[in-house]
């Protein structure tokens, strides 16, 4: 029954690889801040708090081990952003990479967009495996020859060399955002993309860096009237005129760029009424949406708030069609989570290749999968203890009642410093990348 990206009831997950330092002392710069597969799944990019981007490439499947899909090895590493200082506002601009988005491949080179709080950059990643040799006026090491010593001429030829992967910044899109950028999204037209900060969304052309169009502006005339901010934005996967943005109030607005230049008036507003029984001091915080993702089909979208994942049908605005509780047992712990700032954690979510399963992270290095078809959910853990090659991951359980069964973990023993905020699912296969604080785990479906 299990095909690629099939129901999780059939799929068993195995450990494949872990990347990153082993020691428990985590350097802040090594904290992973974003994870993204490219459109074929061959490349996997990570960004960290130190402003670096590391790209892994999947090895081709070897004939020796047909049961295993190829491993991911480091392909390229580069410093994308550096810390900056805004002298006018006396503000330091962090170099942390907030988001990476791949462009669809058009030629031999790969392109990705990476962004920190203020600046977006377009990077070209290209391979070089040949180099010209046999220059007349240059030695092999690059020194210039004295022309008088040249007695004969030859034509330089390309000779193979060790593969070199170069990353070069092709465009820098700067000075367009007053507030902190939280999202970038490439349009299906492959020519434009959007960038969103707390109050505004800008539309860019990939070729033009000195101009961007503001398409959403929710900044009130009087900042005293501010009640919500933009938390995430994404273009529709197929319709180049449609995008959505989520807010800190738990609403999602869908906009059509054909309607007007400034899309302040939404075409659709997705909002679920709050349950008055659940009202608490922290209702506003836990209803804030931290991530929004369209399904690959474009029919649905998924939102993540602090305690749940919701699937919305784009044709129905009044309520989500599915709601999955990620860690409902935390509802009674909200005050402690507020004190230690964990309640502000922004969890991301992702779809599998055929939109049948969704995944998101939790605490204690747990991550959760929800099978939409079979209505089953699974909790797995990314830990060094379960890191034997091809060892099957055992489902975990958090005990919520008084009696704790064997192998269950009580809520009080969860480690809230170990959080999985960023996860990614291979677009075609059952391969997932899960980022703990400073390690990247890759799990694969067990193939028989």
């Amino acid at each position: 029954m299990a095909g690629p990206g099939g129901g999780s009831s059939d799929v068993q997950w195995c450990f494949s690889q872990v990347k990153g330092a082993i020691d428990d002392d985590v350097a802040e710069a090594d904290i992973i801040s974003t994870v993204e597969f490219n459109h074929t799944g061959e490349l996997l990019a990570t960004g960290d708090k130190g402003g670096r981007v590391v790209i892994f490439q999947q090895e081709p499947e070897s004939k020796n081990q047909p049961q295993c899909r190829g491993e991911y090895n480091v392909y390229s590493t580069f410093q994308s952003h550096e810390p900056e200082f805004d002298y006018l506002k006396s503000l330091e601009i962090e170099e942390k990479i907030n988001k990476i988005r791949w462009l669809p491949q058009k030629n031999a080179a790969q392109f990705l967009l990476s962004t920190n709080d203020k600046t977006i950059k377009l990077w070209k990643i290209s391979e070089r495996d040949k180099r010209p040799e046999g220059y007349n006026l240059k030695e092999e090491d690059g020194r210039y020859r004295d022309p008088n010593t040249v007695t004969s001429l030859r034509v330089p030829v390309f000779r193979p060399m060790d593969l070199m992967v170069e990353a070069s910044p092709r465009r820098v899109f700067a000075n367009a955002h007053t507030y902190h950028i939280n999202s970038i999204s490439v349009n299906s037209d492959c020519e434009t993309y959007l960038s969103a900060d707390d109050l505004r969304i800008n539309l860019w052309h990939l070729e033009i860096t000195d101009r961007s169009f503001n398409i959403v502006d929710i900044k009130p005339a009087n900042m005293e009237e501010l009640t919500e901010v933009i938390t995430a934005a994404e273009f529709h996967p197929n319709q180049c005129n449609t995008f959505v943005y989520s807010s800190s109030k738990g609403t999602i607005r869908m906009c059509d760029m054909r309607a007007s230049a400034l899309c302040d008036k939404h075409a659709k507003l997705f909002e679920e009424p709050e349950d008055p029984n659940n009202r608490s001091f922290f209702s506003e915080i836990i209803s804030s949406i931290s991530d929004v993702k369209f399904s690959h089909s474009g029919r649905y979208m998924m939102t993540r708030d602090y305690l749940s994942v919701k699937i919305w049908d784009l044709n129905m605005e009044t309520r989500p069609v599915e709601t999955y509780q990620v860690h409902e047992y935390l509802r009674s712990k909200l005050c402690s989570l507020y004190e230690n700032d964990c309640i502000f954690d922004k969890f991301e979510c992702c779809w599998n290749g055929n939109d049948s399963v969704v995944m998101t992270g939790s605490y204690n290095n747990f991550f959760r999968m929800f099978d939409r078809g079979y209505r089953q959910d699974m909790t797995l853990e990314a830990s060094r203890e379960n890191s034997k090659p091809r060892s099957v991951l055992k489902p975990r359980k958090v005990s919520t009642g008084g009696k704790r069964k064997k192998d269950e973990i009580s809520v009080d023993s969860l480690d809230f410093n170990k959080k999985i905020l960023h996860t990614a699912w291979h677009p075609l296969d059952n391969i997932i990348a899960v980022a703990t604080t400073n390690n990247l785990y890759i799990f694969q479906e067990k193939l028989n």
Partner: protein, 289 residues
């Protein structure tokens, strides 16, 4: 409304935690995070609503008790000739009760000569008009307004508001909010608003000098009274945070913060716009920082 049963945190500690978070965000790397501070301000608003509700309920209970006791005393000592004196006594007692209540809370506020105002407050009779009892015409547990409980200087020596440190009782800092045109005075550890207490003649409170556009004996301007009442409450919660940084924050955010309060459903409708507007005062101030 908000369920306080979810955990054992109380509103007061939530308020202080939230203020510390806002304060710390000013020195965070990468600049102030607008989203996070907005969420913290919502928690602050919710906690204040609960705290003030509890406070009013407590004060009302105290006042009910006092009134019952007074009636009992009256019955015992019924003498038509002493009615006026008793009224005054009644007022003094309820004022003292109020002051005792408020003084114990306000007195510890802001760590500026805290002990002195508290002592002044508790003597009750020594105060000619600073503290005012809850006006409670309809025995409504949540009266529609509340006079600011301001400690003033002993009546013999009215303070010049602009002379700082002119006496043990007079230590005022005046802050003018340019947006709302409300004058805020921090005096001897009290945070209060210069406004008139023009509601009825029952109170012996002196009319404060109004400088900019604050309402003057206008009962219809409920939002302003709400704001004044809320302003007085500002000093109530701050005894739990005893850094002068927090007191600075309160005085800076005071006028905007007061708009976060909305006590009744009908008042909420009136105040909601202001509540929302004032919520942004945090943001404005945060962004400004």
């Amino acid at each position: 409304m908000i369920s306080t049963m979810e955990c054992s945190v109380d509103a007061q500690s939530l308020i202080s935690i939230s203020l510390m978070k806002i304060h710390n965000s000013r020195t965070q790397r990468g600049g102030i995070k607008l989203h996070k501070n907005l969420l913290v301000s919502y928690v602050l608003r919710n906690a204040r609503q609960v705290y003030i509700k509890e406070k009013y309920a407590e004060i009302y209970r105290m006042q009910q008790y006092e009134e019952v006791m007074t009636v009992c005393n009256e019955i015992q000592e019924l003498n038509p000739l002493d009615l006026d004196a008793e009224d005054a006594d009644e007022e003094e007692q309820s004022r003292a009760a109020c002051c005792g209540e408020e003084g114990s809370v306000c007195g510890a506020a802001l760590q500026r000569g805290a002990a002195q105002p508290a002592a002044l407050c508790r003597t009750g009779s020594a105060v000619s008009g600073g503290c005012c009892p809850l006006e409670d015409g309809a025995k409504d547990p949540e009266p529609s307004y509340y006079r600011s409980c301001c400690m003033e200087a002993p009546p013999a020596a009215p303070c010049d508001p602009f002379s700082a440190g002119s006496g043990a009782h007079c230590n005022k800092t005046t802050v003018l909010d340019l947006d709302t045109h409300v004058v805020t005075t921090v005096e001897n550890g009290y945070l209060h608003q210069d406004c008139c207490c023009g509601q009825g003649a029952q109170s012996a409170a002196k009319k404060r000098k109004v400088e900019f556009g604050c309402c003057v004996s206008d009962v219809d301007e409920v939002p302003d009274f709400t704001r004044k009442r809320a302003k007085r409450e500002d000093c109530a919660f701050s005894d739990y945070t005893d850094t002068s940084n927090i007191s600075n924050l309160i005085s800076i955010f005071g006028s905007g913060f007061s708009g976060l309060l909305s006590r009744q459903a009908d008042l909420e409708q009136i105040c909601s716009k202001q509540a929302l507007a004032s919520l942004g005062a945090w943001t404005r101030a945060i962004v400004a920082f």
